[in-house]
């Protein structure tokens, strides 16, 4: 019997190695897998590369992970926010590396990894600082920049409901990076508000088919007080 549902966050994160690239879902705090991030802090893996749209808010979640000093490099589109205190300090002290990626390139590079695409040409960023040194090409009258996929060793995402086969549905704009990150990592772990029986999720409405997901863990839905910058 396939059963991807595990009993605890610790079990969901077992085996994550030092030096891993971790894709972490979420846009600001919507869809940020807080329980898994807290679990990763406890688990202790270090020398990590973290991929997330932002670089942490306040002192919890991703910001708390950064504060442990175990993240070597952030790949993100929008690190600077009104409450990105932890990242700002690490960056200014040169204690963390930053690869700044336009948000659509970030999404497409993750999608490409999940879809087995070796690289792709995109007009985004052409002629800007963020395309410096990159291969370009003129195709049908337009200029493009060559971009490579972002593969994860692990994806940590937050979904609304999941079943034992790993099928997932999401909630509102908390979906954001979850579905593409699940496809782009060797091991995708989803924290869900609720686990359900097989068949309870409408097959027409499943957003992430279970093939992309290795582990599912139910966590208590947090209060709606995750105020973002």
């Amino acid at each position: 019997m396939i059963n991807k549902i595990v009993a605890s966050v610790a079990e969901a994160l077992a085996g994550i190695q030092d030096g891993s690239t971790i894709l972490i879902g979420g846009f600001g705090t919507a869809g940020l897998p807080n329980a898994l991030i807290d679990g990763l802090i406890e688990q202790g893996a270090k020398d990590l590369v973290v991929v997330n749209n932002n670089a942490g808010n306040g002192y919890t979640g991703l910001a708390a992970l950064l504060q442990t000093g175990r993240v070597r490099k952030m790949i993100c589109s929008f690190p600077r926010q009104t409450d990105s205190y932890v990242f700002d300090e690490l960056y200014r002290a040169k204690k963390i590396e930053l690869e700044l990626v336009p948000q659509g390139n970030l999404a497409e590079r993750i999608r490409a990894a999940g879809a087995g695409v070796g690289a792709f040409y995109t007009p985004t960023g052409y002629g800007t600082l963020l395309a410096e040194g990159k291969e370009t090409r003129h195709i049908n009258g337009r200029d493009y920049v060559l971009e490579y996929p972002i593969h994860g060793d692990v994806a940590l995402i937050s979904a609304y409901k999941g079943d034992r086969w790993g099928n997932l549905i999401y909630r509102k704009t908390a979906r954001n990076f979850g579905p593409i990150m699940a496809t782009a990592a060797k091991m995708a772990v989803a924290q869900v508000h609720e686990t359900v029986e097989l068949g309870e999720l409408d097959p027409e409405a499943v957003v992430t088919p279970g093939i992309f997901v290795k582990r599912v863990v139910a966590v208590e839905a947090r209060a709606n007080a995750q105020h973002a910058a």
Binding site: P102, G104, A107, E108, P179
Partner: protein, 212 residues
């Protein structure tokens, strides 16, 4: 002269957004445009974190932090709205499906180059978000900004001195003093505010303008 205030600028932009348009409003000043779209005109607002058919802010106490806009503020979803993941959301921009985006800017050049993501200051922490994707992806890129900086220099420039967001991507610039259409053969100034002459506008801008 009667400079337009922020709401008047937003109202002016809203006038040019047609029925049926799919529109992304950037963070900051452009967000105000939503307040001035006439109720009888169906315009679908896109927010790049994954919602098409974005509605106004919820009533106090009704905030749902799983339902936010690109500025990470709580919003609502209109009947008929759709949620989607980030790759689909950016396909809407990058694939040329979005009709209009309205962005703020530090500078716009007479060739339509846009600079709005980075001042280039050495101690600045850079952040780009979806600006570069919007700039190259939307069918029309509108910029909304004050024409002059606080020290009186024009933000409409011959060549941008700030790092670029996109090359030759801006089609129209709405400012507190006039509207500028950026075309192949030059920059056309229209909608000059009351009391502002073309010659005075030309002097303030310092770049060659064409009148209508």
């Amino acid at each position: 002269m009667n400079k337009l205030n922020r709401d008047q600028m937003a109202q002016r932009v809203a006038r040019d957004i047609p029925e049926g348009a799919y529109v992304n409003l950037g963070i900051g000043l452009p967000t105000l445009v939503a307040n001035h779209l006439p109720a009888d005109r169906e315009v679908l607002l896109h927010t790049e974190n994954g919602l098409l058919g974005m509605g106004p802010a919820p009533a106090k106490g009704q905030e749902d932090w799983d339902l936010i806009n690109a500025g990470k503020q709580p919003v609502t979803a209109l009947p008929g709205a759709a949620y989607f993941h980030h790759a689909d959301s950016f396909a809407m921009m990058r694939g040329g499906h979005l009709d209009i985006c309205v962005l703020g800017a530090f500078q716009v050049s007479v060739k339509g180059d846009l600079a709005n993501w980075h001042t280039g200051a050495p101690d600045a922490i850079p952040a780009v978000g979806g600006a570069m994707d919007l700039a190259i992806g939307a069918k029309q890129v509108f910029v909304m900004m004050d024409l002059l900086t606080k020290t009186g220099s024009s933000k409409l420039v011959e060549t941008c001195s700030y790092p670029l967001t996109g090359v030759g991507c801006v089609s129209r610039v709405y400012t507190d003093l006039a509207v500028f259409d950026i075309k192949q053969d030059g920059v056309y100034a229209t909608d000059l505010v009351d009391g502002l002459s073309f010659d005075e506008l030309q002097r303030l801008c310092g770049v060659a303008l064409r009148g209508n």
